[in-house]
Symmetry: D2
Subunit: 345 residues, 4 copies
């Protein structure tokens, strides 16, 4: 628990992902927190932006530059997309650079071009250890692309089905997200007065940027191209994603064999919990935790596999998932320092 | 506007549907409120249950009996399922009896048996005037089955597509509902501490009782059996449903022809508003109003028609829809006394 | 509903107060809606800002100028403070000009200078008909200063006590407000992610601008200077104020005589409801209504009068109170067109 | 840090306080969790009640008996009031028994009789280490009375003022609490549909049971009887208390000397944070943490000391405060295993 601590820097420290990274790093036994950087809030104290982290309240935020981020063992980048590549290029090859943004997730430059625009920054190892074979790829990695929060939920929910060939490659996902998923941007539709008491849809019709990332991940698992119809909605809560995912069932699939496949696939996963039969996920189960609560069934009328999953978009969906991958990259125990209990009620 | 008022009784006056019926009746120019009845709260004053209705605070709730309900022009039944048939049988044939429960919605006794159990009470005219030809059936009706709140949303959202043959009969619906949809029952999972800050799934896998009602309605519109995979979720808000409905697009369908079909189908509907292109529904748009906010698009990647609709489950989804049908039954203007503005923010 | 309608203009139509004015005007039988004006949102359609008012969705917002506002019977100004005086000066003396902002509430220029700064715009008749003698002053008025939302709640709660000499002039008020009270301003602390699940204090220590307005009103009622210690808090809800007001009890005061004084004072008030003994207010009782729910008791341990009141800050606290005063000014029935039922749950 | 773990039992494990105790115990390095007991939920698995604690999901809840609780180093009692005394009497004198209920807080049997009724169970050391001299009393204690959640907030907020003689003994407190403070009881007013979007008052007029506890604590600090006028309100959030406390300022008090007294009093407190000047507390700052966020000022108009404090009612207000005292009782570091970062946003 002691010895020489690892030093971590957080770029984007005044935002929601940055705040969650810091909260988790404060609870991690191997890290000390080095540089905190940001763009427009550089020069102010962290306490003005993250008042729930009193230990760091007096720390001054620096501007995000390669100099400020140099000399750390791990650098977390929680930046708007398009900014991570340039910063990472200036950091040493031995530094573990963790991109919580979208820049290095997609392997297909055309998909990047279509959904994000601009030049593709290249592909980094994908920080979702629960994908088949992915843990091995993350061990020793020095560049990590943290998955999007929605793809994290959908890939965790549907991978066991596609890995076992139990569903046709035609997925429908409707997910509800807490507002922190939209970041701290000052948009009228994110005001409390607008979101409280209201659920709304956005990015409908195949246009949400997380769509190709879901398809990429599920296609790799299925070994065949998987299509995803994805509709995100905004729910009146700060945190949490509940994703309802379904796909046509493979011929002859029974409820029992479906559950059994999930049990086998998840039995050694430390963070993904298949709920007891008959219990369905609620985001409160995972509030502030690096866990996922998952349930699956067969709808015999519609002949579809239906999987529902809850995660905390900021924890397992961003900062916790990032730290889990960093643990693997650095040869630490995968679960080290990560919260496994939700804060409820 | 005056003359002899119509007298309305409300059975189930202490519940959420009953409260909403009374709120709307108080704003309706043609009704005076007669008997208020209930089961366990009989003998108490309405103010103890509906403190937002100060005009009726002192009214004493009677027990639900045929005697108490006799002598009214309209009787609204907001009772648990299985109770409406016996009550209605004792009311005069000239009385307009409006069942806000499930008893008289389904035409297939087997579906009733499978999803509700017990003897089927028979089928009454279905109180969704927006269905093709339904307005005519409601004119002069003396028995009305108010649709379920979820089916109201799904039928409004998908009827234009199926009426025009633009979608395959294989629908996936994921809907978020406010907690009032579950009624005032004292269940741990409905406590504020549990639902605030949390979205949860329930009734997954084709088992929710509103599923056969959706299939019945859409099948009639499509002229062919339609399957619905329905997943309801509970959102941290008191009121509102946001339903995301999708189905495979008919061959050759374009976004423009899809929108055009919806514009034509909805152009004379007083309560269903097709939003401007690019605007997606939020339940806040319809809070407390008898309106629906609807948007539709084609997802070209997944080749699906995606329609999203927002309603207030207590207003258009229950009490407002009931009153709209009663207006038709009594030959009053369909829109009379019904709120068309949401209460927002 | 018949004859020549009165024409009303709303300046500040894209904000929360403006939206509520429009919602109420749409339900008022004597008004038709004329010009809609604003500052930065001029040129856009109202539907982009008030999607809960589908009837007006296509109306184009004009810039707030005297020309745009001319030719109306009533002009509602829902503008940031400091802007109403100049606009009003250009409107005819026969026009009923209703300032929903702060400019014309205070009678003491020094208080204006201390709390708002800049030149005092002068004092208009105060739009709180429930104050002693105030109804008479509002009849025929052509300029009306709508009270602040917090002062509305506090004056309604404590006027009966001070009018009857039952409390010492040393009031402590702690009030919780929904976030719409802060308007649609894009501030980080008003983001949904920040306000959901959190109650916070602000403007503590006698610095909130509504403090001198409360003192002015209560002093006039008491006939002696009344001091108010006021602490506002922000609660996770869109609408509503719950104000807890207390003051030392007059010598010999009993619970019975206190209640009796309130009963007498409020017995003819159409919108202020003294709740049955033992029932305490909740903001949900008044959601969307022009009502107040009030309760009062004597705390015998601390020897204080404690009054708690709930209102909707946008309705009775702003737009509804404004319209109530306009009804009086124009000689219409005071209650005309004003909602008296809350939307609950 | 390892060696033989201490064994802790939790009676009332299916409730909210019990769940929070378990969450914290799971994160405490010195404890292993022994018996979990309850009343009506005995026989069921913990996962059915605390789904956010997946590590304990399969544990079976036993009935609360002395046998079940025997053989533990620490026994936490999270029971309805009136039940702790009998259970504690059957547990060994060496066992640390921690009563999270009210039974052993009050030293005045008359106050117990007036506010709770029945026989007084006796007084135990009061588990609020931040009170003057209290840490010493807790070291080695084998019986601990955990303070009420509201008294925790009020005593932390006002102790520095009364210890320094800066306020007159006449306190007004208005506090907003999240609904978990009311426990998991199935009451209609605690349903999500009722509490969302609504703030309500209850227990007004000096009748709330926490009132004499506040007076007892502040009187001891002040060395003179202190009166408290206390009004609790229920806010639409699951967790958190924001208490606004004020009292007449001592003659000649300045804002600077007031702040200075708080700075001195709190400079070594590990969990109570005096916020930077101008920053006011929000409950989100302390969500899930054993911390308090405090601010104080002088209202020069009303000449009152105004202190506002935020805590999490379940953490610092119940389970965290309990564990902090247990750490002291057992000679462990006071801060061991207690979360000091909030979960925000």
């Amino acid at each position: 628990m002691q010895g020489v601590a690892l030093r971590a820097a957080v770029a984007g420290a005044s935002g929601y992902a940055g705040g969650e990274l810091l909260r988790l790093l404060l609870g991690h036994p191997e890290f000390e927190i080095g540089a905190l950087t940001a763009a427009s809030s550089a020069g102010s104290r962290l306490g003005a932006h993250q008042p729930h982290l009193p230990q760091l309240a007096g720390r001054v935020i620096e501007e995000t530059t390669a100099d400020a981020l140099a000399g750390h063992d791990v650098v977390f980048l929680a930046l708007p997309h398009g900014h991570s590549g340039a910063v990472a290029a200036q950091l040493g090859e031995d530094t573990v650079v963790v991109d919580c943004g979208a820049d290095h997730r997609l392997s297909d430059p055309a998909a990047w071009q279509e959904f994000y625009g601009g030049e593709h920054a290249g592909t980094w190892p994908y920080g979702l250890p629960e994908l088949p074979g992915q843990r091995e790829l993350l061990k020793g990695a020095r560049r990590i692309a943290v998955p999007g929060c929605y793809p994290t939920s959908v890939l965790l929910a549907m991978t066991p089905a596609f890995a076992a060939g139990l569903a046709a490659p035609d997925v429908v996902v409707v997910a509800a997200s807490g507002t922190s998923g939209a970041g701290k941007s000052l948009k009228p539709n994110l005001l409390g007065s607008e979101v409280m008491g209201s659920v709304s849809a956005y990015g409908v019709g195949g246009v949400h940027r997380h769509t190709p990332e879901m398809e990429q991940g599920l296609s790799a698992v299925a070994g065949t191209p998987v299509r995803v119809s994805f509709t995100p909605t905004l729910a009146p809560m700060s945190r949490g994603i509940l994703a309802t995912c379904s796909a046509p069932a493979a011929p002859g699939l029974t409820k029992e064999s479906l559950r059994s496949a999930y049990e086998v696939a998840l039995k050694d996963e430390p963070f993904v919990h298949l709920l007891p039969e008959g219990v369905w996920p609620a985001t409160a189960m995972t509030y502030g935790a690096n866990t996922a609560a998952l349930q699956v069934t067969l709808d015999p009328r519609a002949n579809r596999v239906v999987a529902v999953i809850a995660i905390d978009n900021l924890t397992k969906g961003t900062a916790g998932g990032a730290l889990q991958s960093v643990n693997l990259a650095l040869g630490l125990p995968e679960e080290l320092g990560l919260p496994t209990t939700g804060v409820a009620p």
